[in-house]
Symmetry: C2
Subunit: 341 residues, 2 copies
């Protein structure tokens, strides 16, 4: 019976959105308890409005503060001890919850996680692991921005953890692990990536070698590993180009009467395309490597997107992801390799 601690106050849309997202899930997940954290009065009001005030699946935890989007991690750690984010992490730490979901400030969430949950023994740096679309489904990419200047050993750890997540949560057998690089040839890449490849090749993982940015959306790998700086820049750049394509597409349509007619004719097609490429369905990045399941939702998530993030948390909690990773790390990580990190 998984308990999910939900930070209802962080993010752009606040408690009303969060409560509606929970309402969308309670029927399909009758065995899940949602511990909603935030301003108790506001929450009870929203729960009433959503007819969840008597639900046995919802428990309210009061928090008097909220971590702001522009706060530094240290400000959040020291000054906001009664924030919804802080309390939610505390619930996980004390065993009252099996996972935390928050749409708040990523830096603060990661900092709170590192301080209060610490990392899984054997893991040096938790990574942000996000789902991205492929033509036929999805793949997992990490690190999407938690760590810059990674050592090869860190990339190796990302691969191990990502592989377990893909197996357990995405249901993939022997997930194909690729290293994001500038070419497929072994000779290509910077020092960090070349050395990481050696570690990966010597491991038990289903390492398929280097993968290029142009191939990852075709689904050549189930898990794509990279340094946090590289991953974040690549992701943001892709999003920037996609946004430009959307802007240009929209601009083409408003060009005169023909454009407007064409738009009407084209609308169902565009809607299907929008659904297919809808980033909201991929919402819910895992702070992978913390000693507890922590899911980060986009700040601007609406109820559909936030529900997707909640479902990631539920799935990972049911599969006891953290425990599985801890077991594999214990078994597999060569003590000699670990001590060199």
């Amino acid at each position: 019976m998984p308990h999910i601690a939900v930070d209802a106050m962080s993010g752009d849309f606040g408690p009303s959105m969060v409560v509606l997202a929970i309402r969308d899930l309670v029927k399909d997940h009758p065995d899940v308890i949602f511990r909603v954290v935030g301003d108790a009065d506001a929450l009870r009001q929203e729960l009433s409005r959503a007819r969840l005030q008597n639900s046995t699946q919802v428990i309210v935890h009061h928090a008097s503060q909220v971590v702001a989007m522009d706060e530094t991690p240290s400000q959040a750690l020291r000054g906001k001890r009664d924030s919804s984010m802080h309390i939610a992490i505390g619930l996980l730490r004390e065993g009252h919850a099996d996972a935390v979901v928050s749409a708040g400030n990523t830096g603060a969430l990661m900092a709170l996680g590192k301080v209060f949950l610490r990392t899984i023994p054997g893991i040096d740096r938790p990574a942000i692991a996000a789902f991205l679309p492929t033509t036929t489904g999805r793949f997992l990419a990490l690190d999407m921005g938690a760590n810059v200047d990674c050592h090869p050993e860190h990339l190796f750890q990302f691969a191990v953890m990502g592989s377990i997540l893909a197996e357990q949560v995405m249901g993939v057998t022997k997930p194909r692990v690729g290293l994001l690089n500038i070419g497929s040839e072994e000779i290509k890449g910077n020092e960090q990536v070349k050395e990481a490849a050696l570690l990966l090749r010597a491991s038990h993982l289903n390492f398929i070698g280097n993968v290029e940015g142009s191939d990852i959306y075709r689904g050549v790998a189930d898990v794509v590993v990279c340094d946090g700086f590289v991953g974040n820049v690549a992701l943001k750049t892709s999003e920037g180009l996609a946004a430009m394509i959307r802007r240009e597409l929209r601009a083409s349509y408003t060009h005169g009467w023909y454009g407007r007619i064409a738009y009407l004719v084209n609308r169902p097609i565009l809607q299907r395309l929008r659904r297919r490429l809808d980033s909201r369905q991929y919402n819910g990045a895992t702070l992978l490597g913390l000693n507890g399941i922590v899911i980060k939702s986009h700040g601007n998530a609406d109820r559909f997107a936030f529900a997707c993030a909640l479902e990631v948390a539920i799935t990972e909690a049911k599969h006891r992801l953290t425990l599985h990773i801890a077991e594999v790390i214990q078994e597999r990580l060569d003590p000699a390799v670990r001590s060199s990190a």
Copy 2:
């Protein structure tokens, strides 16, 4: 009267494509001489076909070999001394040409450039500088993949050269230079980027600070600087996502009879979009920092794209780009900074 040495044999489409691209330009550029390098017989045949056999603007140089796309730079250097690429670089080196354009193997072209032209005094590493689209025009991005593991000093040099190119060739006054980073705040980034920012801030350049991947296509900067590994991965990842969007869009249209009708109605719109985002118009990356103008065209460039690359070469040659960079480097680069590279 600029002379452009054109490698007619490298790339996917060979001499017929190259000759047609030249034909498209001879009228608009009556003062330009095209020194076409490749198999003399094949070239003369194509020139006849294109009615250029008597043109005073075309000179044929014979080359008996071609550098293959999968050859390593060292193979190209040692084994292919009579390749069209090699001969073209030689023409530039000996002063018979003011620029080289090739659609061949980038690694080989860069290697030949470094060995036979060397770098502009004061420049350690030449970068691949490419034009990318913005909503209103274009910007210059470098390094797009020539150098991995750059030092902060290298990023600074890229910025200096890129700024001159933008001024001279794009006609931008005081080009805005941005450093590709994971956030706009100064505190963000890896060691390399943080130190590069210090150098840039202390310089004469119009440095606007960090720029994120999601903003560059909006035209926030005229010149975007990054490490070659990061730039290449970001570019390829964006291209991969754009390709996926195109695939999904196409797939949406073949979905039944409505899709086909919608496609016909939508075709002019899509064509306008395709033209607007047409990557061919941006073809022609500069190997910036070599002591001579060397332009790299995409291997799969058609005649329109290759003509765009030729025009980049013509513009840079007319503006004596290499000379300008050499002058600025002499004046501006602090000897103390240079010796620490």
